[in-house]
Symmetry: C2
Subunit: 335 residues, 2 copies
DNA sequence: CCCGGGGTTGGTAACGTTCCCAGCGAATCC
DNA sequence: GGATTCGCTGGGAACGTTACCAACCCCGGG
């Protein structure tokens, strides 16, 4: 029981495959009654065109497929981005292949290779720290690439990011404004660009006030709620423990909130927003970014490239939003 | 500047395309030094096999591509499912096309048509209310289909769901146990299977105690936080307002929490868990389901079908977990 | 010395589609 | 009325790959 082909439809309709092709692709120049006969045969056989074969033959047209490669599709941040990309793609008649890298260069290579082997017209990429030389050849052959959330070192392509550094700096300045001087930084792997940027913003805010960054208050590489618990516990053991914590992503914010008591004994400001942040006691102050805008912008850039724009690579930097709700003031001495 | 083909590699290596094919596909029976020459040419040209052409020729083998069609990829629940599906696919060397339906039958048809036109080997589907007759032909032709989260009416395929009805009944029983008798139901569109099931569980719990379901306390069709605010406000206007609310998904739970005051004046139990639920005051009591298990189970079923299992369609029902944290007891009269 | 066989390699056709061009009848034009 | 054009249709080739089979080389056995 195989799929019917154009040949089958042609036989049933009593025409040549070429005519079927024309009807199925909606080309002009087929007599109305011939077209009707073909359409009837199509319906009768349940025929559907094989787009892989089609794209193989059509040289100039692409495959109407793009690839989206993110760190972790289960992360709500990337999920929102993905949905936004998918909507733009759907609007234009494209489909989207997705893959998660787990921030592992090897898996990134595997996923991208699988996508380019299927002749995707473009890639939207949250790059890992690994090299991207393997993209050179597909790019020469016409695959467009856009980076989002982070730039890829040594890859001259359109890139959409947010002002991580400024956002973090703003958040830490807020903590300083409320009298905190011992402020901890809890972040994910330092080799992730966004994390390094946010750490730089943390340091910059301290430097603005002439304060040094105490290495004892800085923890990198936190990848889980549990890991964050341990880091927080260690900070509490210090002779001079922090009175405030800047957390550099959602997962870490959650981990810290697990350990700050009711009511909290430590001020917290986090990067990324959480759905219930405003319902906490005290409500959570955050630096929020807009994943839908990130994904949408990246998709629009990619499609304009696919449609032929070949100007110099652009870099788009979106703004973060500082949302002050209260958690940065506690247990502030000046309030 | 085109992509190199096997012919190009063959010319550079001084062999026939057939030999290149053998080397690239790792077939045995090529002399070691010939293979080395080919591999060198591959590297020199940056050659990558065109898997679309490959799958076109290989009749019995598939495309190593599956499609995942969910309601909304941005929903954390489906995002977790998607990641779980993607992991299983990646493990087996498959790639995943994703699409969101928005619960619109028309968009579902479009997305699925785009996927089957690309000859996906299988589909994991969160079906909308619409008919699925258009799947008959692809299924006859070998495309395997598995439904997840909801069954598709009139489609005899493997289906993975959770015990929505039992979960809802358990939650509402909990509210009854704590003295509530005026319990509202706030749900999404009633034509979504999960929502109808959860409503049935709500009614069943009331019936268990000989209580009628007051239509004034039931609101269907809530699709946003804002819509939920309005529904909650209406309920408050009633002469005999509810003292407890059962919310039938995450988004509605969030909407209700927006409107219950600090501290809350209404007990709340929700379907689906929220990341910060345990940090609320009082902590949120929920019926939690496991999207990773749902996705993983569906993927495993699909791949066993793809690998040839042709037994009768199975129906897998996963259990929900009732997580009692406190929000169902307030402002309970018996406590 | 000739024949058979294993190990390598290449030629041809085919997967399902579309591009390009030729063919054909009818209609149009002077 | 003959030539030209137009509208419609079909035949052959090609996209990049692999299945299938034939050919070739070299070796050992009879």
């Amino acid at each position: 029981m195989k799929r019917p082909t154009m040949k089958d439809v042609a036989r049933v309709a009593g025409v040549s495959p070429m005519t079927v092709s024309r009807v199925v692709s909606g080309e002009a120049g087929v007599a109305p009654d011939t077209a009707a006969r073909v359409e009837q045969a199509v319906r009768r056989l349940g025929y559907q065109r094989n787009d892989n074969a089609r794209h193989l033959r059509q040289k100039d047209l692409g495959t109407s497929t793009i690839g989206l490669v993110v760190d972790d599709l289960a992360n709500p941040f990337y999920a929102l981005m993905a949905r936004s990309v998918e909507d733009e793609a759907h609007r234009r008649g494209y489909v989207v292949l997705v893959g998660s890298t787990n921030d592992e260069p090897r898996r990134e290579r595997e996923v991208i290779a699988a996508f380019t082997a299927r002749q995707v017209d473009g890639l939207i990429l949250v790059p890992t720290i690994g090299g991207h030389g393997f993209l050179k050849q597909p790019m020469r052959a016409g695959t467009r690439v856009v980076c989002v959330d982070r730039p890829a070192r040594g890859l001259a392509v359109d890139t959409v990011t947010v002002d991580n550094r400024a956002g973090a700096r703003r958040a830490v300045t807020h903590l300083l404004d409320h009298g905190h001087t011992r402020i901890a930084y809890l972040g994910d792997r330092y080799d992730i660009w966004t994390q390094a940027e946010r750490h730089a913003g943390y340091v910059a805010a301290l430097t603005d006030r002439g304060l040094p960054s105490d290495p004892a208050l800085v923890r990198h590489g936190l990848r889980s709620r549990e890991g964050t618990h341990a880091a927080l516990a260690e900070l509490r053991e210090l002779a001079d423990p922090p009175t405030a914590v800047f957390t550099s992503n959602d997962l870490i914010t959650l981990g810290v909130l697990d350990g700050v008591g009711h009511p909290p004994d430590v001020a917290v400001v986090g990067f990324d927003d959480l759905p219930l942040g405003e319902r906490l006691d005290p409500p959570l102050t955050v630096v929020s970014q807009d994943p839908v805008a990130l994904g949408g912008t990246a998709a629009n850039l990619l499609f304009s490239r696919i449609e032929g724009d070949s100007s110099a690579p652009r870099s788009v930097i979106l703004l973060t939003r500082f949302v002050e709700r209260g958690s940065g003031r506690l247990p502030g001495r000046n309030l």
